[in-house]
Symmetry: C2
Subunit: 446 residues, 2 copies
């Protein structure tokens, strides 16, 4: 029996395993993982595809052998969890080579199985030339396919942030593509402010974006795909399906409390509804501090943090995770897009008397070489003045603006507090009037 | 009589004047200023000297004529305040052309006279070839001197952040120099963490830095200066005296409460100890939120904010300034140095049971092109865990790390809060483990 059994060997699983070993070096920790490649930076996949990063290997921190040698933690790959029996304290694990199912007993269990791509009902995902962009194994298959078949035209289905990162990658590779989404806007879960910035960049870059396109069926004729949509057909030699992910929790068989989408609910210590079973990472929900309820926001940063916390708590610490504020950032060509907290639409839906104010400013003194415009929007509750969220769009790294906003949202600060924010100022780095501060002045009606 | 009289036409004075006009368009606002050039970005001066910014004109937002035409606010330049009579509600103002002193009556007065360079007892500042780096007028004189005399060797006296910015500028110009300071370290008011980073860069760049050098006297022989110090003499064709500033408040004649250095004390509404007299900018003290007492931290960002607040309050608003946390940033070659709150030494002096923890991390994912190391130090109070301050040093913009820290310090957050900080993450912009978060994990003993 594994004293500590961990299912999943990426951000959350390995963070937890390392914490357990750090806190209790004699602990017997076993990690089982479905994939053959563990411990990689999945968020880097688009930049390998673009050619900016030379090889998929660069994304991988450890092989399972290397990890085991360095840490003393057993990692078994090619093993998929297929069932959970909390009564007997066992996980059913299938050896993907032999097909044999074993029962793995545990003392304490961490579910860190991550997420899996949503499947499109009109697409046979097993066809050659149809890809997700989720794992390094996906990436290797894509690179091999491109090398062998030299596709001339791609269809990217899904204009979320991964679809947009992929679009940029394909542009850099010089591979023609259409970007298709059934919804009317790209990044539909983001604030309208951010959507507008993306739409402007899509136009600027001449991306063949087809919003509001419902695909009825996809047909393969020889090597070519024909995507049948209402208005017209689209042709492609390669299809990328990037319409989001869902928690990989089917094997739990309804034995744990989850959100409707299957994301495992936990308390602030990463404990599930069943004793001695913890969950962390993209398979789990996290508390959204502004909404005050669990939300599904799968992100590598959260997976690492909650994984670490789960590891600490599995060996008896009582550390609490206060939740997230939904901070996200991504790159789309020379546009840096970031958000934190709630957008205006979300805030109104959540019952706040929300208002939004936007502001433009330089990222540094206007007279300093390279000065670039930054646009921010802040969302706040009018009666209390509480800052509920912010979004930023700029040519420079938007983290500079969204991280302090994320801190302010986390701390429950008001737009008055933000107006007097003592931000760094020097001509090469920041302007006298930070865009966040300018927006806050408007919001506070100063 | 000016309903609103403002002494000083830079960040604080003009921000206040504009606010008064915005809130009450019929208000009679008069601004008098000692300098001929108003409304300029003094912090940009080193970058004109270096050649990065083409002309001193780029730093100037408005001429006094242009400002007056645009805003309807009267600005009189070449007028120095030389006396204050609160009983009669008058300021004595000297016309620097004619030498005539006039009495300017006021309804409400804002003192925004800024700061002036400290003078060195061993240096005749009136000698040709001796310069401060404080105003655009200084800059113009320096540029003219360099063009006419083609100095081959400079002495920079003072290794504070301005001295270091100047050193970089001279390196870029290809003008040889020695950087001299009486103290043993550069940026002596900064944390030792930051000093070490500067010392390493000084070595790396081969700067002739001479710490602990007390100059006894400076002699001019022909066009050359000889700086007599204890160990050896130094020779230079041009001298820059950049040993800090003091508030320009001599004309107040002790009629207002001040710090020992002359910085005017105000309440949270920018009101001085005398009714209807306000003060803002580099002539005034501000509340340091961590120290809980007034401090002298002259910065353009604060001057703009408090100037704006003073303007609002002079027309009857009741807006309060919560104070600063001492956020600062500057550039020294390819090093970006920033700080906020207290350094370890300051925190111990202030009576906190302070500890410091440092951490290194990449600024973005290690596999993403251009990744650079960021080093941060956080200072916290051990019993409460309260974050007291932070410092950052990196090749990339350190504002990305110090601004969220500044927000956390302002909000009174703890290192536990910082450990779970929901910072932005994407390979091109930020790493999974933000350096601040890593430091906070150590500090929190997670």
């Amino acid at each position: 029996m594994a004293e500590f059994l961990i299912i999943g060997a990426d951000a959350a699983g390995l963070s937890a395993a390392l914490q357990i070993k750090r806190k209790r070096s004699a602990a017997e920790v076993k990690v089982v993982a479905k994939g053959r490649i563990i411990s990689y930076g999945a968020c880097g996949i688009p930049y390998v595809l673009s050619g900016e990063i030379a090889s998929p290997d660069k994304l991988v921190n450890f092989t399972s052998k290397g990890f085991q040698e360095k840490t003393g933690i057993v990692v078994e790959t090619g093993r998929e969890a297929v069932g959970l029996d909390p009564e007997r304290r066992e996980v059913e694990v299938k050896d993907l080579d032999s097909g044999v199912i074993r029962h793995e007993p545990y003392g304490r269990l961490l579910i860190a199985t991550g997420a899996e791509p949503k499947r499109l009902p009109f697409l046979d995902h097993s066809l050659e030339g149809v890809f997700n962009l989720h794992t390094v194994e996906d990436l290797n298959r894509i690179m091999a396919f491109i090398a062998a078949k030299e596709p001339r035209r791609a269809a990217v289905i899904g204009a979320g942030n991964i679809g947009l990162e992929l679009a940029e990658s394909l542009s850099r590779r010089g591979l023609a593509y259409s970007l298709v989404d059934v919804l009317d806007s790209p990044i539909a879960t983001w604030p309208v402010f951010s959507q507008k910035a993306v739409l402007a960049k899509i136009k600027d870059k001449g991306v063949d974006f087809r919003p509001g396109t419902a695909i009825a069926s996809i047909e393969k004729r020889g090597e070519e795909f024909i995507l049948h949509a209402e208005k017209e057909d689209l042709r492609a030699d390669i299809i990328f399906s990037v319409t989001g992910t869902k928690p990989s929790t089917g094997f739990c068989g309804g034995k744990l409390e989850t959100l409707p989408n299957g994301a495992i609910l936990t308390d602030s210590r990463a404990r599930t509804s069943v004793p001695d079973i913890f969950a962390a990472g993209d398979c789990a929900a996290v508390l959204h501090r502004v909404l005050g309820r669990p939300a599904y926001i799968p992100l590598g940063s959260t997976a690492n943090k909650v994984g670490r916390l789960a590891g600490m708590n599995m060996v008896g610490a009582e550390v609490e995770f206060p939740g997230v504020v939904g901070t996200q950032i991504f790159k789309f060509f020379d546009l840096s897009l970031a958000r934190t907290g709630l957008g205006l639409e979300e805030a109104l839906q959540a019952g706040f008397q929300a208002e939004a104010v936007s502001s433009r400013a330089n990222d540094r003194s206007g007279y300093y070489p390279g000065a670039a415009q930054v646009e921010v929007e802040i969302v706040f509750d009018r009666p209390s003045g509480r800052l509920l969220g912010a979004a930023a769009a700029s040519r420079v790294n938007a983290a500079q603006f969204i991280d302090p906003a994320a801190m302010a949202v986390s701390a429950g600060l008001t737009v008055r507090d933000l107006a007097w924010f003592d931000a760094a100022y020097a001509p090469p780095y920041a302007p006298v009037w930070n865009a966040l501060v300018s927006a806050a002045f408007q919001a506070a009606r100063f």
